[in-house]
């Protein structure tokens, strides 16, 4: 949050280069690269997956705030690449592995050949001497592209928790779907899948803590994407309002419209503040981290969504057409409001922690 001048300059350079790449290659771009895997490797070549990795694994320092720059920029163009898991969640998982197991994965991550998906826990359990995995997950993003799955099990309590890293070839029934915002996702169902010992990253207290960190990081990262989307949506709307004339004057000149956009601006600025706090807190103690993550997630799910709804309203009819971008921004925020814990769950957790 309080970044040195040096870090701020680095952030700006990173933002510029990410924005250029993403704008040139995203789904809204006419020059989009067709092959998701090739595009992913191009991202890897830009060094994005080194940002969050520790030095020991060949990364450049593990700064969540820089990962947020990427995610925010990806959100701006409504990118559908499942960046979150590789950028934010893989680093702590790899750091928890023995170096000899972690290094090849870290190398692959940075090369773009190893791609992670986060499979959120919704009552997964290990039976039979903690070797057989059963149960159903919540919706997981990026299952189609992933080579490895990050799977927290029994993460509701330290007792019996485990954090698994499974190959994407593992047997699981995929209840796949296209999400409201057009991305694909799937809930995985495991039926007594044998889990090899080396697939277990952590057990017990350590797994519980790692799963909590990952869940918080996912909530924060998803909100960073939402923030980017909302911020770009506001800019798009304001620009449209300046051009569009109704009743003999630009829409942007009407006081009611001005106030609507000012309110959305306030909400997005507050959301950015919460993101800065949460990004900072990801590296800190679990209590404040959880509070900050839940505050951000809850705010994004209510006020963030409302800020974008107001943009649709101010845009008028065009705002509700499929071809115009603001509706897609709304769908992205609505989608993120449902993923990684609902607004009410996060609000309840935030309240209970205070």
């Amino acid at each position: 949050m309080r970044r040195s001048e040096h870090r701020r300059e680095e952030d700006a350079l990173l933002r510029d280069s990410a924005r250029r790449f993403l704008e040139d290659t995203n789904a809204w771009s006419p020059t989009r690269a067709g092959d998701p895997q090739a595009r992913w490797r191009a991202m890897a070549e830009l060094g994005w997956f080194a940002l969050g990795l520790p030095d020991a694994l060949g990364g450049i320092g593990g700064d969540p705030a820089q990962c947020m720059v990427i995610l925010e920029e990806a959100g701006r163009v409504l990118d559908d690449a499942p960046l979150l898991a590789g950028l934010l969640l893989a680093p702590p998982v790899l750091a928890a592995l023995p170096l000899e197991a972690a290094q090849p994965l870290a190398d692959g991550l940075q090369a773009g050949s190893v791609r992670f998906a986060y499979v959120p826990d919704a009552g997964l359990r290990l039976g039979e001497g903690a070797t057989l995995l059963s149960g159903r997950s919540r919706l997981a993003l990026g299952i189609d592209l992933a080579t490895h799955w990050i799977v927290p099990v029994g993460s509701g309590s330290a007792n019996g928790a485990a954090l698994l890293l499974l190959p994407a070839s593992a047997a699981a029934a995929r209840d796949g779907t296209v999400l409201m915002d057009g991305r694909t996702a799937a809930a995985l169902t495991f039926a007594d899948l044998p889990v090899a010992p080396d697939a277990v990253v952590a057990r017990g207290e350590a797994a519980f803590e790692l799963a909590a960190l990952i869940a918080d990081a996912a909530a924060v990262g998803a909100s960073a994407e939402a923030l980017g989307a909302a911020d770009a949506g506001l800019a798009l709307t304001v620009s449209y309002l300046k051009d569009r004339t109704q009743f003999g004057a630009p829409l942007a000149s009407f006081q009611a419209v001005q106030h609507m956009m000012a309110e959305s601006f306030c909400e997005i600025a507050q959301m950015r503040s919460l993101l800065m706090w949460a990004a900072d807190a990801l590296a800190g103690p679990a209590g404040e981290r959880a509070r900050a993550a839940s505050a951000l997630k809850a705010y994004a799910g209510v006020q963030g969504l409302r800020a974008v709804a107001r943009c649709i309203q101010a845009s008028g009819g065009i705002g509700v057409t499929q071809e115009y971008r603001i509706g897609h921004v709304y769908k992205r925020l609505q989608t993120h409001a449902a993923l990684f814990g609902s607004t009410q769950e996060h609000l309840a957790r935030f309240g209970a922690a205070a």
């Binding site: 779907t177 296209v178 008028g316 705002g319 057409t321 309840a348």
Partner: protein, 396 residues
């Protein structure tokens, strides 16, 4: 709200309910429950059933084939239809074009068009708004030039809902460019199969096709396609827009959706065990919404009671669109919160049987929720409605 209705009205309601129970096809009701954009065939089927009973054009005068109901009876009829998940009647034909024709149309127009609207054989769309005139109808650019035996219409119309299966458009066009903007407009009936009419589908935020842009390229309409007098179209259009203001409240549909959502919340697992509706926070949100919906129901009834008794509509008529549309959005927003992850799935793995109520109903709610952003924009954006309330009701 039972205390509001007389015994005779309660009996009427029971009769309507019995008729619907006996005559509404189950597959039609199921489709209404599942989605929002019905096909022409779906709507026509129900329209014909009602027409056979004499109830299709239920708010028209008896002289034009209406059943002669009071506004309160119409309210009860609509409430029962919504409760039973009956398809809505075509907004444009039955609610807007019919009243315009029997009020301002010629005898020949009435004879030619009213029966088809009643029976559901013909469908209509509305040609008011234009690509460059959203809520600002006075700035319309479409022109109708007088020629031998008729008019030639040129221009484009935006947001023509159901235009792709409509037989006719009721079209506002400029016949006189010399006078001030509102004064030189006329209202025409345009045959959608006429030469020069073409449509471009507009896919809306929910991914569905119910709206179009309609291009009118030198479309000839005969003299008898003019409704009422030339250059008076603005007056007729305003009449049309204000005529069915209570319809804009969409109070029956909202009540039905609210009830269904509450049923759903009883069945969906909540975050803290039990159902969503066992969560006191959700309970209170449902209650707060129910309070506002109840208030809106009474407000609609107040307006209808004035109509029944032949009084001028009170100022409360002006708030129906604003309140009604906001409540529609709040219901679907609450639905998304109730549904959680199920609400953002466009498909569900096991919808056949044991997937649970959330999975079965989720897709419909999500589509409605997205499309619902439109209700505070169309029919005069709510900001415009508020300005109208301030100026005309409060005199500001």
């Amino acid at each position: 709200m039972d205390t509001f209705f007389s015994d005779a009205e309660q009996a009427f309601r029971a009769e309507v309910r019995a008729f619907i129970r006996a005559n509404l096809p189950a597959d039609l009701a199921a489709r209404v429950r599942a989605g929002i954009h019905l096909s022409r065939v779906d709507m026509a089927r129900w329209n014909a059933i009602l027409d056979a009973k004499g109830w299709a054009a239920h708010h028209w005068p008896q002289a034009y084939g209406g059943p002669g109901w009071t506004p309160i009876q119409r309210f009860l009829f609509e409430a029962e239809c919504a409760d039973a998940d009956a398809p809505p009647l075509s907004v444009f034909g039955v609610y807007l074009v019919g009243p315009t024709l029997y009020t301002f149309g010629s005898a020949a127009q009435k004879a030619a068009y009213l029966p088809g609207i009643r029976s559901g054989d013909t469908f209509w769309c509305q040609g008011y708004s234009e690509p460059n005139a959203g809520s600002d109808l006075a700035s319309l650019k479409t022109t109708a030039r007088k020629v031998e035996g008729g008019y030639v219409i040129d221009g484009a119309k935006a947001w023509t809902t159901e235009g792709h299966f409509a037989d006719y458009m009721i079209c506002l066009a400029r016949t006189n460019p010399q006078v001030k903007p509102q004064a030189g407009l006329s209202l025409f009936i345009v045959d959608m199969t006429a030469k020069g009419v073409s449509l471009q589908p507009v896919i809306t935020i929910d991914g569905a096709h119910s709206v179009n842009t309609t291009f009118l390229d030198a479309v000839f309409v005969p003299d008898d396609a003019l409704i009422g007098e030339v250059d008076k179209g603005w007056t007729y259009a305003k009449f049309l827009l204000s005529h069915e203001r209570t319809n804009n409240a969409q109070v029956h549909r909202s009540r039905r959706e609210f009830t269904r959502l509450k049923d759903l919340a009883r069945q969906v697992a909540g975050p803290a065990g039990g159902s969503v509706l066992d969560d006191p926070v959700f309970q209170r949100r449902f209650a707060a919404l129910d309070v506002e919906l109840s208030a809106l129901e009474v407000t609609v009834l107040r307006v209808l009671a004035d109509q029944t008794d032949g009084r001028e509509p009170g100022p409360e008529a002006s708030i129906l669109k604003v309140i009604g549309s906001e409540l529609q959005q709040r219901i679907s927003e609450l639905a998304m919160d109730v549904l959680g992850e199920e609400g953002i799935r466009q498909s569900h793995g096991q919808v056949d049987g044991d997937a649970g109520p959330a999975a079965t109903e989720a897709a419909g709610w999500a589509e409605r929720h997205l499309f619902r952003r439109v209700v505070t924009i169309y029919a005069g954006a709510n900001e415009i409605q508020k300005t109208i309330i301030a100026r005309t009701v409060l005199g500001m």
